[in-house]
Amino acid sequence: MVPLSWYLVLSAILFCLGVFGFLLKRNIITIFMSIELMLNAVNLSFIAFANYWNAHAGQKLASGREIVGLSGHVFVFFVMVVAAAEAAVGLAIIIAVFRTRETLNVDRVNLLKL
């Protein structure tokens, strides 16, 4: 029996670390990874909540809507899809940038054109 808040705190920590990565890293690829990290953190909280609600599935909310268990899963899938698409396009962009700029340092890619 793990408190839900633990999962949420963990996901918060991971998310913040991801943001830190985005802020502090210079390498585009690493920045991308930080984004992936953030997405994962969100996924974690999704799953945790899915589990949480699944325990209460079938009951009524205060707003009168019935609780659907494990619908959090679906969002996890969508997040994964988005991550995959993002990785595909983003890495292609990175390669294009590298071709023209010969660098992966975002501080050197600060003109809004290639």
């Binding site: 029996m1 793990v2 408190p3 839900l4 808040s5 633990w6 999962y7 949420l8 963990l10 918060a12 920590i13 991971l14 913040c16 670390l17 943001v19 830190f20 990565g21 802020l23 890293k25 210079r26 390498n27 690829i29 690493t30 991308f32 990874m33 992936e36 994962n40 996924n43 974690l44 799953i47 945790a48 899915a50 589990n51 949480y52 659907v68 268990g69 494990l70 619908s71 899963h73 679906v74 996890v76 899938f77 994964m80 899809v81 995959a84 698409a85 990785a87 595909a88 396009v89 890495l91 292609a92 990175i94 390669i95 294009a96 071709r99 992966l104 340092n105 501080d107 050197r108 600060n110």
Partner: protein
């Protein structure tokens, strides 16, 4: 009890991996530490009873996306990043902002610990394939199809970008 111990272990591994992602200077190390994070996240999903998502996490994230990252790193033969101070803003505003953010969220969670209650490996059919499939292909069919469109577009974009001009 066992769960808590396991959770703490894997959670610590997660955080360690994430921190390692930050401190490592070489992108490939960061990538690998991210893989570690994802793998241990998959295990945490298992703790939550979400087997399917765990497997997918391993296959898609660790197995496909991160491989792609590593592949690109190898392709561009990216060296370790050089120190360059491109933006003071990131330090002046971003870092405190993120700190505040994290502290606030954590504070809320800890405060509402009681109300939130706890979770354990849920009912047997929680993470199984059938209910999820039912959810995906019945209740959320349209978004699902739309995501497939999204993927298609992403593929095309990647191809277009990847082509050498001309």
């Amino acid at each position: 009890m066992v769960h808590q111990v396991l959770f703490i272990i894997f959670g610590l591994i997660c955080v360690a991996g994430a921190v390692n992602l930050l401190v490592q200077r070489h992108p490939i190390n960061s990538a690998l530490s991210l893989v570690v994070v994802m793998a241990s996240l998959a295990l945490i999903y298992l703790l939550l009873g979400a087997e399917f998502v765990a497997a997918i996490q391993v296959i898609v994230y660790a197995g496909a996306i991160m491989v792609l990252f590593v592949f690109v790193i190898m392709l561009l033969n990216a060296g370790s990043e050089e120190r360059s101070s491109g933006s003071r803003m990131a330090l002046l505003i971003g870092v405190p902002g993120v700190l505040v953010l994290g502290c606030l969220i954590g504070w809320i969670m800890i405060n509402n610990n009681k109300q939130l209650g706890g979770v354990s490996i849920a009912a047997t059919d929680f993470g199984e394939t059938h209910p999820i499939a039912r959810l995906l292909f019945r209740d959320f069919l349209l978004p699902f199809e739309i995501t497939s469109i999204l993927i298609l577009i992403a593929i095309m974009g990647a191809v277009v970008l990847g082509k050498r001009e001309g």
